[in-house]
């Protein structure tokens, strides 16, 4: 039996990590104030690359007060990082990281460097670089 085709590729129609009919929100989403979807409605790819904007670590004029989790994520964004890196590094579930990252992106503290386009294969120069890297392991 093939996997259901009803799940659209993310980016076009964001996958909901918790459905609307999920009832009481479970603990991990307490740190998002119960929000399960990114504030800007765009679901970041699991390997989208993000980075903190210069000066983005001052939240004096941030209308939405940052939580300790926001600050932990922002600290990890001081170097370029993927969404997966941040989730693994903070121990926060992926869906939670996406919601909190979207807050930081909306407030201008973090920017998306690379959001992978659909179905794009890299050029052979990149594949060759990956091959060389694997062989050197």
């Amino acid at each position: 039996m093939p996997p259901p085709d009803s799940y659209p590729p993310m980016g076009r129609s964001p996958v909901r990590w918790v459905r609307r009919d999920s009832g009481p929100v479970v603990r991990p989403y307490a740190v998002t104030g119960g929000r399960t979807e990114p504030a800007d409605g765009e679901v970041l790819d699991i390997i989208a690359v993000v980075v903190a904007m210069p000066g983005g670590d001052t939240d004096d004029d941030d209308p939405q007060r940052r939580t300790p989790e926001h600050r932990r994520i922002l600290a990890m964004c001081q170097r370029q990082a993927t969404v997966a890196d941040i989730a693994a590094g903070t121990g926060l579930p992926l869906g939670v990281v996406r919601v909190l990252l979207s807050d930081l992106i909306l407030s201008g503290a973090v920017t998306v460097i690379r959001q992978r386009p659909a179905g794009l294969r890299p050029g052979n120069d990149v594949l060759q670089e990956i091959l060389n890297g694997l062989r050197a392991l």
Binding site: Y29, I46, M53, I105, T111, I113, R114, P117
Partner: protein, 206 residues
Amino acid sequence: MAFAPSDHGSGAALTAHKILIAGGFGAGKTTLVSAISEVRPLLTEEPLSTASVGRDSLAGLPNKKTTTVALDFGRITISDSLVLYLFGVPGQERFWFMWDELAYGALGAVVLADVRRLDDCFPSVNYFETRDLPFIVAVNCFDDAPRYDLGEVRLALDLDEDVPLVLCDARDQASVKNAMIRLVESIAAGDAGLASAQGRSLIIGH
């Protein structure tokens, strides 16, 4: 969503690529990912599907509608600006809804097969075949598993001739490395004739 020039942070813009490690429960996905990369658990909160009823004990938790799933997540640094991510895809049917997100934009996949339970990897093979995602099948050589000729395995899996089939010891870094190299080589070979794909990737600045 705001996009910025690539000069923020440390040096060149980071490019991330992902490879999926699929296969049935117990096929050795976790072992394989840990053999070749530093592994950290990646937590996701997933809606509980009806398929999990009877598997996940919900006694005393009448309102529990989601469950935490830990993905195997490995990171291989190729260069300062190029990182390869490995994601172990949960093989059970109840996790299939996660596959499309993980497969989205992936370079390709390694399907781990255990010859004692070959049918466990049928769903993975079907999935990648129907999605046109490049993949290889790696037969994990468990110590206590019978040895079969790869031709027999290919026949049993009804695998196309152009899908590489390799033997692999998921515990052994060199063996896993060779399987990954085989995958990337087959991706490169498949792409060689696709001028349009090459052109597109040049436009976005690879």
